[in-house]
């Protein structure tokens, strides 16, 4: 028996139970794809790539395709907290409607402040209805950190001025699964950077339910959709690392699969932006690339329909999917030994050199003092007497 058979069966059962639920959309996925001039072949190719990305064997491809077709059975609620909407943009801004963004249209998105037609009181009603009607069934996706200082008053949304904390607790209470989309929702992001006046925190620090983090600024659209597909496929949360990030996406460092890795190992580094090494595509480590400290799949998945990614464009990784990266990774364009130590406004090397100099001065002073010090050693005393 293949070790994947049990997993295959689990997915089959899950999909069978999902297919018994009624669709929340008028058109099935096939019709939708056809309307956008995408044929079945494109769709199966896409399903195969998602299967590979989730580290599943090839024979799971039809299951993944089925899971995506059944995505209209699961209602989604997308909350915007302290954020810039960049994560939503990452998913919806494409050169042409890709399957990723179509899936996003196809899932039953019950509430998304940027995308929905409703506004004001009507929007709030939609949220309340979704939470009530699909209690225990809907997937909650959260974009943005949660300001907690001053009882959460730094973030209020809607006509009733509900705080972000309040909204989150309300929506999370009856969610089937909770995904933190982006670094802000996962770890607090830029508003949680020191001194963090709003007391911003990641979602998993505010609520006490299991949360899957999909960090990145923004996260790759593939990682958002992949996390969703995984949940639809298996009905469970994926294997995660210590920061609750799905291992299939955040299991390797940027550095592990970087296209410039060969230059790193050969000691070929870009010395300044625009120099000969930069033209040759050498490693950006000395330009502050944080790839060696950052877990993500950018080096494989890239961005914008696999067009390019920061390191490909000649700028180092800035570690955006790591916790507190604004505080721990800076300066972003210098190696990490240029990092300013908290509150000291100096690097470790600078402080070390200062202490070493102080040591040398201390030794010198002590040595000179020794020359003049009165000898009161027992043995010496006797010599003098």
């Amino acid at each position: 028996m293949n070790s994947y058979d049990a997993l295959f069966k689990q997915a089959r059962l899950q999909l069978d139970s999902l297919s018994k639920l009624s669709s929340l959309k008028e058109d099935p996925l096939e019709v939708m794809l056809e309307k956008n001039h995408l044929d079945r072949r494109d769709f199966i190719k896409w399903a195969a790539s998602i299967t590979a990305m989730l580290a599943l064997p090839g024979h799971f491809t039809p299951l993944v395709a089925d899971a995506v077709k059944l995505a209209d059975r699961l209602p989604l609620v997308w909350l915007h907290l302290a954020e810039c909407t960049g994560c939503s943009e990452s998913l919806i801004r494409t050169d042409s409607p890709t399957i990723d963004s179509l899936i996003f249209d196809y899932v039953s998105l019950e509430y998304h402040e940027t995308l929905m037609a409703a506004s004001g009181w009507q929007a709030e009603e939609n949220l309340e209805n979704a939470i009530k009607n699909y209690a225990g069934r809907y997937i909650l996706l959260i974009e943005g950190g949660v300001p907690t200082a001053m009882n959460g008053q730094y973030l209020t949304i809607g006509a009733q001025a509900r705080t972000g904390v309040d909204l989150l607790h309300h929506a999370a209470a009856s969610a089937a699964a909770i995904f933190s989309i982006g670094t802000c929702a996962s770890f607090g992001g830029i508003q949680a950077a020191a001194p963090n006046p709003t007391g911003a925190k990641g979602v998993d620090k505010v609520i006490s339910k299991p949360v899957i983090n999909v960090p990145g600024c923004p996260p790759n659209a593939k990682n958002i959709v992949g996390t969703l597909v995984y949940f639809i496929l298996f009905g469970t949360l994926p294997a995660i690392d210590v920061y609750s990030r799905p291992k299939w996406a955040y299991g390797n460092r940027i550095h592990d699969n970087c296209e410039r890795r060969g230059h790193f190992d050969a000691g070929e580094f870009v010395e300044t932006f625009g120099d000969g090494g930069a033209k040759e595509g050498w490693c950006l480590y000395k330009q502050g690339c944080k790839g060696p400290y950052t877990f993500n799949n950018c080096s494989v998945e890239r961005f914008n329909q696999h067009t390019n990614w920061p390191i490909g464009a000649g700028h180092g990784c800035m570690g955006c999917s790591e916790p507190n990266f604004w505080d721990t990774m800076g300066p972003l364009e210098k190696p990490i030994d240029s990092h300013l130590l908290m509150g000291l406004n100096a690097t470790a090397d600078k402080i070390g050199t200062t202490l070493l100099t102080a040591t040398a001065i201390g030794i010198g002073a002590h040595a000179v003092a020794s020359l003049f010090a009165k000898s009161n050693d027992r043995n010496n005393e006797e010599e003098q007497s």
Binding site: G262, G267, Y293, G319, P323, I336, D337, A348, E382
Partner: protein
């Protein structure tokens, strides 16, 4: 008639293994500091040949010497507790627990009185070496985390899982890297103080200096009072 005679008496303080381990630590810490600075901010120009993996090789030697340092540290710790003549070292713990010994040693450093100690280390010395031992293990721990992210197989693979939890305690890989870098400065500052104090106390208190770490023998002056026999001359 009484005659006072001062003789240097040898004290055997460091066994062969202890002396070898000391110089092994000195060597590894030097190599690790140089290669460590290269890894932090590579200062060598590339050779121009892609088959010369300059960085990878410096990194490899860094790891090799790191493992040697760990082995030397563990063995040294074993010898401290169970070595053949460890009593001289373990006796120093009594001095650490005595406030009087602390004052005596600190005063002696400021030219007041002689250095009196029960074991071979004074309390200040003992605590400094103890802190350096802790520093070695902190460096090795952070070093292992960085190592396990480069070598995913065998030992690296074995420690990867548990150490990723430790990574999160430190606040991510970048923080681990920074702490690793700061620990190195601990050694860089320790070395000149260490060498100076050895030479200074040898001159000041008239006993053996660097030689101790080669021969194992320290020499202390001892007074001897002899009753001169009549008519012996």
């Amino acid at each position: 008639m009484k005659e006072t005679k001062r003789t240097y008496y040898p004290d055997f303080v460091y066994s062969g293994a202890n002396r070898i381990l000391h110089w092994l630590r000195a060597l590894t810490i030097t190599v690790l500091t140089v290669t460590g600075f290269y890894i932090a901010d590579p200062f060598l120009a590339p050779t121009g040949k892609t088959q010369d993996l300059v960085f990878a090789q410096w990194e490899m030697w860094h790891y090799i010497f790191g493992f040697i340092l760990l082995a030397a540290a563990i063995l040294r710790l074993y010898l401290f507790f169970f070595g053949k003549n460890h009593e001289g070292e373990t006796r120093s713990i009594k001095d650490v627990l005595s406030l009087k010994s602390w004052i005596t040693q600190i005063k002696s450093y400021f030219f007041i009185g002689e250095l009196q100690k029960k074991g071979i280390y004074g309390p200040v010395q003992f605590v400094t070496y103890f802190a350096i031992t802790i520093l070695v293990f902190l460096t090795v721990l952070t070093g292992f985390i960085l190592y396990s992210n480069v070598y995913h197989q065998e030992f690296g693979g074995l420690i990867y899982g548990p150490l990723s939890v430790v990574t999160s305690w430190f606040g991510g890989l970048a923080q681990v890297r920074l702490i690793h870098h700061i620990t190195m400065w601990g050694f860089i500052i320790f070395v000149p103080i260490h060498v100076y104090m050895v030479v200074w106390s040898a001159i000041r208190f008239k006993h053996n200096a660097l030689d101790v770490m080669f021969t194992g023998y320290d020499y202390h002056l001892r007074k001897e009072e002899k009753e001169k026999a009549e008519g012996s001359e």
